[in-house]
Amino acid sequence: MVFNVLGLVLQFQAVFLLLPCVVSGIYREHEGFSFLIVALACAAAGTLLRRIKTQNKQIYAREGLVIVALAWIVLSFTGAVPFVLSREIPSFTNAFFETVSGFTTTGASILIEVDEMSKCCLFWRSFTHWVGGMGVIVFIVAILPMTGGQNMHLIRAESPGPSVGKLVPKARESARILYIIYLALTVLQILLLLAAGMPLFDAVTIAFGSAGTGGFAVRSSGVASYTPLMQMIIALFVILFGINFNFYFYLRGKHKKDAFKISEVRWYLTIIAASVAIITWNIRGLYQHIGDALHHALFQVASIMTTTGFASADFNLWPVLSKSVLILLMFIGACAGSTGGGLKVSRVLILFKSIRKEIEHIIHPRSVRAVMMDGRSVPQEMADGVKTYLATYAVLFAVSCVLVAGFEMTDFETVFTSVAATINNIGPGIGGVGPMANYAWLSLPSKWVLIFDMLAGRLELYPMLILLTPELWRQK
């Protein structure tokens, strides 16, 4: 069954890979052939895998996790091959890093001269953000009729957040609604960017980058060369993509008021507003107008908090307070059920509420207090799950830091933020991996550590970690 679903994933990848071929046709580039070759190979391999007969048609929670983890590795692998074949990114590790960074919507790049890349490669890079943002499996579920309730295990393994529910009774319908919202917002952003005067290719790729909260730009200067109006449109949309998609579902339906009652969304917007205020005040001296300071503060906060990673200014040069706030935002991340990464606002909320409960318990040892969210008590299981998640996250983070520090001769800031920026799927960090630098200079082993971190961060740790458990392989 695992192989059948993987075959399906490969077939979809083949279709995805045809898109850059079309782009190369439009711009008359010959790099499109490498995409075509890989697309055909994927289609063939996918068809073969789907032929495998399996007795067990059930997907349980464990299969769900394994399928999703393997699917993402397979996607990134096949997605990296065209870069190598077309000699655009000759080193395989670099190509794989770039593709993983794309699918996981990290946006950490090893490219030094983006301007010299072919259009179809740039398109593919941005398109991986768009697909990775909402999830490939969710996409497949939305399109293909899969029987049984088991595909919820797949969706759950791929979607971020402490508790993944459905919007409507049928999994397929839920997935479809998510993608419709996603597509509608993306199209809207493309139109607005075009209206603001951005060229079509830039508008489409930047919209893909914002929709998946990825952060690959198509120019070496990033998004700094766009007009302030375009930058504001981008900032607005990354904030919108970082909101829990339940919000839009409620807005669509009969209970519009419920949308604004989601406490996660409220806190998300509050945190953005507060951070913008602090940073604007902190960097007001660096810019001539307070308006410019506000503009750059808002753009950077939106970009970092939603884990997109576009930069309109080099925040590496900002004061320590501003940098600290940004690093903090990296860890909080966007809302659950959005396309953003990080710990997720709802987890942070549950953690803070649990802390308050614990302190209260120390003061009044006999007190009974429930952790409440949106007027309902959070089940103890879920609260415990969040704490375990945080602990796992901290361990992975620490181990990655030590490994990268061991492989590189560099300062602490760079090591710390490179891991933080990849595990939270942001992209640029601070120091040697800051917004105006890139990841090309890192050594091979560090790149592989960061690749693992990006995948683990996007899939919320467990699918990747389960691949490392020996029991899983022994049973098969």
Binding site: A61, G148, G149, M152, K166, K170, E173
Partner: protein, 454 residues
């Protein structure tokens, strides 16, 4: 259709299982978060944790767009309240499980006063099914159509039976009664047979015939159809009460064995004509002393499935009478079928069947309506009764000239108080009740089964 199921107990789960197979949009509500997450993992349904009587919770499950709400929590009052609420705020159809015998006599009144579309009482329905089985003790299973005037019986072909080695075309002539054998189970195989099919010993047949012909049918195939006089009910729950009440009225002698003294007293007060024995049925001595070996029928109705299975196996070993086993919870159907337990009755399935029938009839308010629906062989063969209400292209065309889907058999037609045994020349008319046996799933209209040849 959008269906809301409140309460995910045994009955709730069976209903969801059936309805989700028929591709409805289902939301479930239960107070127990664990049960809800089990349901959402097993079926493609949306789960809401909370109390089904609360408007807030119903709204979270999107009651406004629901077409049907089914309340099957363990409390009758909660079920009625949530149905009332759903009816008021959403105007949807409502089905409530109401099973306390104190409401039994007033059920019509309650249904009308609260605007319910249907009430279900699994225990009462199970008691009725057991009652039917006791009236035809040679059958393994009895289903009725056309308000009880046509019956579908399941029976084994015994060694040396007149049916052993008999081709289906010759059956009528051989036993001199109009019957139609519509399904044959042979080992794990299930066939809807054609005329040249030859029966063997060990086959399990399902046959359709007019109700008054049933005793003659069993006599002619060599099974005694001696009516049941003495019945022992083991376990004195709700089913036992309903069953004893109706059997006693039809003149049988009922002996109920119940462990709990308080319940014994209660039963004795409510059922003055029955013998109530206080004793533990797990004790062989008690059973032998009360004459289990001489009973015409033994029905095991305790609250524990495993105990019922053991008691039935024991009863089978020492008695020649009819054995009926009630199974409430176990889901190992194929294992249970392999045991020699006589007839097995599943209350939750009977209820689910009646709800599925209601849903299909709701879906299709024109043409021909599903009147009755039975799952003859678990998830393989269904028997459905349709009433032809209006003109359609299959009306007044000889059956042989209709284009039919595979594995569809017209088993009987009831017209003007008469059972017509259909053949190729029979024509369906408006007003007929048509009984169809099929392996096709989710049929809710005769149109789906056959058409006039183009």
């Amino acid at each position: 259709m959008n269906i809301l199921v409140v309460g995910c107990g045994k009955v709730g789960q069976t209903i969801v299982q059936q309805l989700s197979k028929e591709k409805h949009d289902i939301s479930v509500i239960d107070v127990d978060a664990g049960v809800v997450s089990d349901m959402t993992n097993a079926y493609d349904v949306m789960g809401v944790v909370g109390n089904g009587e609360s408007y807030e919770v119903l709204r979270a499950a999107d009651i406004e767009s629901a077409d049907l709400m089914i309340a099957v929590t363990d409390s009758d009052e909660k079920n009625l309240l949530s149905c009332l609420l759903a009816k008021q705020v959403a105007g949807c159809n409502t089905i409530a499980r109401v099973r306390n015998p104190i409401y039994g006599g007033e059920i019509r009144l309650i249904k009308e006063a609260l605007g319910l579309s249907m009430t279900v009482n699994p225990e009462y329905a199970a008691a009725r099914e057991i009652g039917r089985l006791l009236k035809v003790p040679s059958a393994i299973k009895v289903e009725t159509f056309c308000r009880g005037r046509i019956e579908l019986l399941k029976a084994n072909v015994m060694e040396g039976s007149i049916l052993d080695g008999c081709a289906l075309v010759d059956v009528d002539a051989k036993i001199g009664i109009d019957v139609l054998i519509c399904v044959v189970e042979r080992g794990d195989e299930v066939v809807i047979p054609k005329g040249d099919f030859v029966l063997q010993k060990g086959d399990r047949i399902s046959a359709v015939m007019a109700t008054e012909k049933v005793p003659a049918f069993f006599t002619s195939i060599g099974e005694s159809s001696r009516p049941v006089r003495n019945v022992m009910l083991i376990g004195g729950g709700k089913i036992a009460y309903y069953l004893a009440d109706s059997l006693h009225k039809s003149g049988m002698t009922i002996k109920i064995i119940e462990k709990d003294p308080a319940r014994c007293t209660e039963l004795a007060e409510k059922l003055p004509g029955c013998i109530v024995i206080e004793g533990d049925a797990a004790d062989q001595e008690v059973l032998l002393e009360e004459g289990i070996a001489e009973m015409d029928a033994v029905v095991t109705l305790t609250g524990i499935d495993e105990e019922n299975i053991f008691l039935s196996l024991y009863a089978k070993s020492i008695s020649k009478g009819k054995i009926i086993t009630k199974i409430t919870r176990l889901s190992f159907d194929n294992i249970v079928d392999g045991l020699d337990l006589g007839s097995v009755v599943y209350p939750k399935k009977i209820t689910a069947e009646s709800i599925v029938r209601f849903v299909r009839a709701m879906q299709n308010s024109y043409g021909s309506n599903v009147e009755t629906l039975y799952n003859l062989i678990e998830n393989k063969v269904e028997a459905l009764e349709f009433v032809v209400r209006e003109m359609a292209d299959y009306v007044d065309v000889p059956l042989a000239e209709l284009e039919r889907k595979d594995n569809v058999l017209v088993a009987a037609i009831w017209r003007n108080g008469e059972n017509i045994q259909p053949n190729g020349r029979t024509r369906i008319q408006v007003g007929d009740s048509v009984i169809v046996v099929t392996t096709q799933k989710g049929i809710d209209n005769l149109n789906e089964l056959f058409h006039k040849k183009a």
